[in-house]
């Protein structure tokens, strides 16, 4: 190359370090290019090879997750996983974290997190139909944590409602380990006709790359902004670059972008499409080119810019929100532009697909334009380093294991302990539109969300054999468990998530995960990550649930302390027939309450290791987690899904008789998780505004103990079930599945009574659960 070769760098060896690249990485770039990279090229590699974009610390471990299954149409590696739902429909699923942005500007951090995950879904050709928001904050007595929590909830509400996608569930956890570093994870699920599936690949030499949506500003230039302080630009720009890189979400732009993109895809006007997320245009252009095995020429001048005087590296690395890159044939361009015009979506041809395999950044498309960067496209995307970072089992785990919480003093009053554990997340989810699209059969508040499988513009599946009628979604994580034993804890988390889905009558078919961990340069953190992945792999393999996607969020630490390991999973379940609402997680007056669980001695009791009670009441986090018997758990999932099934009548039982299906006499159901049987009973009492009188659990350990594979059910008395004893019928099925069942007592009245341990009013419980969040967060959480 002669005149048009990229400007050569100064002899500035510190630049790559300032950009976050190691000396070895810089050397690798030089050898890939066969020459020194220039500043722009270095900036592009820096963002693409960042932990966030390249998964360089986690990639060597993620490969151990099982990702194959009959229903998996698209596994990890694409923008979202896609699962075949039968009947010509598919479900796209993806989870992402927006932890760090939310710590700085909670509202916009969370809002842009929602925006980003939506784009991952509609870029696959799917109409987003549901959002979930697993949230973790510092304790409510910390003013900054309250400010973050209320801002995050407002941001999800503000963006999700306005963009017109219902938020149907999530999690809400307050824990000291998240003070200063909240976890804001967002899951999105979409529906598409299986034949509309598009991938983010550029193909067809001569095709055009069209940038859709917002203008590009200096948003989220992040680490790259140090370029300025390295003397890359003049002083005024250096000053400007110190502005915190906060992005502002525009749900209205995103809504128009969704409608425009789905219309383009429906009309088959694009050959590939990709959202712009982290690393902005650099990522979208290099990934689409790399996946398509082609090259691309990109014009900086063609990119609509929101601010004057932007440098090429700013345009190429900006993370301005609400943008998409569509690959279209020249013949389709006019049609594409007219769809965009109708939806008032800005569209500009910024790139051209070439056969060179190289990503070239040009000042413009005019003849004689300068080439600002010229790199093999695939190297940005595929040649990022993979690190086998050192791992070490934390020394402190032995101490934690020997700190047996069974030796903690028993409560003076189990009833008041129970009241102190209650939190009603309704204060949060009442701020979310969870009903749009008329799909939400089980809204937030149940064990899992249950949605009709349908969406505007996507025909509902014909009632063909094998076509799912509904989907169930649950997100789950438990850092208390994972801190004691990341492998066993993650197994328990996957087990719980699958059970939540079963409780609304679904069978789990796929899972996505968001691995929130501390600093990967700490060997203990890498060990935790590796163990969690092994645990997830073991549980998913045993339960037959492929992992179709995920996200890794590292460097979650504040004041030098890593967060407890927090793998969060989102489980997708399918339901074949949907004719009634599944049993609510509520006590129903006049019914018998039974506990289903493992038959092993003590299996129904659980343990206080890593339990909510030990932590919240006694400030104790220790012990050895009870193991999960995954074979038994798989049988439990099948049993629970069938007794909770929302199918009206059992199609296998011959002609319709109007009788409930065998086992469907269960009228209330709730799994037992955090807080043990005590909390599960109280939650059911609150949901049903009905008390209970149960004998057993007999001790506070059995009352608050946590352990896997347990479910509470309500059964009508024999008289109401036409004389047959539902308990006996259930006991037969439970025994056949190799599980145990015990009769705990009856539901009714206005007091929650566990003989010898608890006697509190249902009203008291309702009030206690209700007051927590409103009191703490009601005034906007107070000052930062």
């Amino acid at each position: 190359m002669t005149d048009s070769s990229p400007a050569s760098p100064g002899a500035d060896v510190s630049l790559h370090r300032a950009l976050g690249l190691t000396d070895d990485e810089a050397a690798a770039i030089t050898s890939l290019l066969g020459r020194e990279p220039n500043h722009l090229e270095l900036a592009m590699y820096a963002v693409m090879w960042s932990e966030h974009c390249s998964y360089k610390s986690s990639r060597v471990h993620l490969g151990r997750l099982p990702s194959e299954g009959d229903r998996v149409l698209v596994g990890p590696g694409e923008n979202a996983g896609v699962v075949d739902a039968g009947g010509g429909l598919a479900v796209a699923l993806r989870i992402e974290s927006h932890n760090h942005p939310s710590a700085i500007e909670p509202y916009q951090g969370a809002a842009t997190g929602v925006g980003g995950i939506l784009r991952d879904i509609f870029t696959m050709g799917a109409r987003p139909i549901a959002i979930m928001d697993p949230l973790r904050f510092g304790p409510l007595d910390d003013a900054r944590s309250r400010w973050i929590a209320s801002g995050v909830v407002a941001g999800i509400s503000g963006y999700g409602n306005s963009v017109g996608v219902p938020t149907v569930g999530g999690e809400l956890v307050f824990d000291t380990c998240y003070a200063g570093n909240p976890l804001v994870n967002v899951l999105c699920c979409g529906v598409l006709p299986a034949d509309r599936l598009v991938l983010g690949a550029a193909t067809g030499i001569g095709n055009l790359a069209v940038l859709l949506g917002s203008s590009t500003g200096r948003d989220g230039i992040g680490g790259v902004s140090v370029l300025a302080s390295a003397g890359f630009t003049d002083d005024a720009a250096a000053e400007e670059a110190k502005r915190p890189n906060v992005q502002v979400g525009d749900p209205f732009e995103e809504k128009r972008l969704i409608e425009a993109c789905l219309e383009l895809l429906d009309a088959k006007l694009v050959v590939g499409i990709q959202d712009l997320g982290g690393a902005g245009l650099t990522c979208a252009t290099s990934e689409t080119a790399s996946r398509g095995g082609v090259g691309m020429d990109v014009s900086v001048a063609a990119v609509p810019q929101r601010e004057a005087g932007m440098e090429a590296w700013e345009v190429l690395t900006s993370e301005s929100q609400e943008r998409m890159l569509a690959i279209v044939t020249p013949a389709a361009l006019d049609a594409v532009l007219s769809v965009c015009e109708r939806w008032e979506v800005q569209a500009a041809v910024v790139g051209k697909v070439t056969g060179s395999g190289r990503l070239r950044i040009l000042t413009s498309f005019a003849p004689g334009a300068e080439v600002l960067a010229d790199v093999p496209a695939a190297t940005l995307h595929e040649d990022a380093p993979k690190y086998h970072r050192p791992m070490a089992r934390p020394a402190w785990l032995d101490d934690l294991a020997s700190a047996d919480p069974a030796r903690l003093p028993a409560p003076d009053d189990c009833g008041s302990d129970l009241l102190s554990l209650l939190v009603d997340p309704a204060w949060v989810y009442r701020q979310y539109d969870h009903q749009l699209f008329l799909n939400t059969v089980v809204a937030p508040g149940g064990d899992a969300a249950l949605l009709r499988l349908a969406a505007p513009g996507v025909r509902p599946p014909p009632p063909a054999a094998g076509a799912a009628a509904a989907i169930a979604l649950s997100t789950d994580g438990n850092a208390r468990w994972c801190a004691l034993d990341p492998r066993a804890g993650t197994i328990a988390v996957v087990a719980e998530s699958a059970l939540n889905v079963a409780c609304v009558g679904a069978r789990p078919v796929a899972l996505v995960n968001c691995l929130n961990f501390g600093n990967p340069e700490h060997p203990e953190v890498m060990w935790q990550l590796s163990e969690a992945i092994d645990g997830m792999a073991e549980a998913c393999t045993a339960l037959g649930i492929p992992v179709v996607g995920g996200n890794v969020s590292l460097y979650n630490e504040s004041r030098g302390r890593d967060i407890d390991p927090t793998p969060v999973v989102g489980t997708l379940g399918l339901v074949d027939r949907l004719e009634r609402r599944p049993p609510p997680p509520a006590l129903i007056p006049g019914t018998r309450i039974a506990l289903i669980g493992p038959p092993a001695p003590g299996g129904l009791d659980g343990s206080l290791a890593g339990s909510l009670w030990a932590d919240k009441v006694r400030g104790h986090r220790g012990g050895v987690l009870p193991p999960v018997d995954l074979q038994l758990h798989a049988r439990l999932l099948g049993l629970v899904a069938s007794i909770a099934s929302p199918a009206g009548e059992d199609p296998t039982s011959g002609p319709a008789t109007g009788e409930p299906a065998a086992g469907s006499s269960v009228v209330g159901i709730h799994d037992v998780s955090e807080g043990g049987i005590g909390l599960a009973l109280a939650e059911m009492a609150i949901a049903g505004r009905t008390g209970c009188r149960v004998s057993g659990p007999l001790t506070h350990v059995a009352l608050f103990g946590e352990g896997p594979s347990r479910v509470l059910v309500c059964l009508p008395p024999p008289a109401a079930a036409g004389g047959e004893d539902p308990y006996a019928a259930l006991a037969d099925r439970v025994a056949a599945a190799g599980l145990a069942v015990v009769d705990l007592g009856t539901a009714g009245g206005d007091r929650i009574v566990v003989e010898g341990l608890v006697d509190i009013g249902v009203d008291q419980a309702v009030e206690a659960a209700h007051a927590v969040l409103g009191d703490a967060l009601g005034l906007g959480g107070g000052a930062a």
């Binding site: 509400s157 749900p251 809504k255 008032e344 009442r430 969870h434 009903q435 699209f437 505007p456 906007g780």
Partner: protein, 226 residues
């Protein structure tokens, strides 16, 4: 005869498909009308559905009321045909001054999505015709700006004229006089914050909304017949 309902789509509207599904399930026919159209086409009634027209930027309805289609909506309203604004649609109708008053932020200063009890307070509207006063319905609400506000004289006029058609049993948003829905003097232009289309299937928790939308289709159908 089947009533034909035009459902107006502004950029940012999101309940249009739900409204169409509900109208069709009740035997009506429904079609989308793009906000940039100057004509509503052949329709007997029009619904402005919920959502966030133009992102609710500035104020809900503030930009939407300038859309070309609004002149046609206003004409249809003067001609006496049913015009119903649901949630964001109600906000658009007040901004367009087809209905009096304004909708402010909820008193609790947060978005509210819930299913609430509302009572029919007047049968003198296309949406409540035939429903006895006092009938209680369970219908979802879903809004941030649903706190109905008007001056004392307007409130008196609304009360005296039987134009307050729906009231909350337990006021969720601070609306004056627990107002959930109002009508114009002729009863053909109606605005309400609750979403009847979300209450048309027992599988989703309530089908009380069928009574309201059913009344609307009957009113629209009656005009066709006459």
């Amino acid at each position: 005869m089947t009533a034909r309902v035009g459902v107006v789509l502004f950029p940012g509207t999101n309940c249009e498909h739900d409204v169409i599904a509900a109208v069709e399930a009740l035997g009506g026919s429904a079609s989308l009308v793009w906000h940039g159209e100057t004509s509503l086409g052949d329709v007997d009634a029009v619904i402005l559905p919920g959502g966030f027209a133009h992102g609710d930027y500035l104020r809900p309805g503030a930009i939407a009321r300038f859309s070309p289609v609004m002149a046609a909506v206003s004409q249809l309203a003067s001609a006496g045909a049913p015009v119903v604004g649901i949630c964001n649609g109600f906000q658009v109708l007040t901004e367009a001054q087809l209905l009096p008053g304004a909708l402010q932020k909820n008193a609790g200063l947060s978005f509210l999505c819930d299913t609430v009890a509302i009572e029919v307070a007047s049968s003198a509207s296309v949406l409540t015709a035939g429903l006895p006063v006092g009938t209680t319905l369970r219908v979802p609400i879903n809004h941030f700006e649903g706190n109905y506000t008007c001056d004392a004289a307007t409130l008196e006029e609304l009360r005296a004229g039987g134009r307050i058609i729906l009231r909350y049993a337990d006021n969720p948003n601070g609306s004056v006089y627990d107002i959930a829905g109002i009508a114009n003097a002729a009863g053909n232009v109606v605005g309400l914050m609750p979403h009847p289309e979300r209450a048309c299937d027992p599988l989703l928790g309530s089908d009380d909304g069928r009574l309201l939308l059913g009344a609307l289709l009957a009113s629209a159908g009656a005009r066709v017949g006459s």
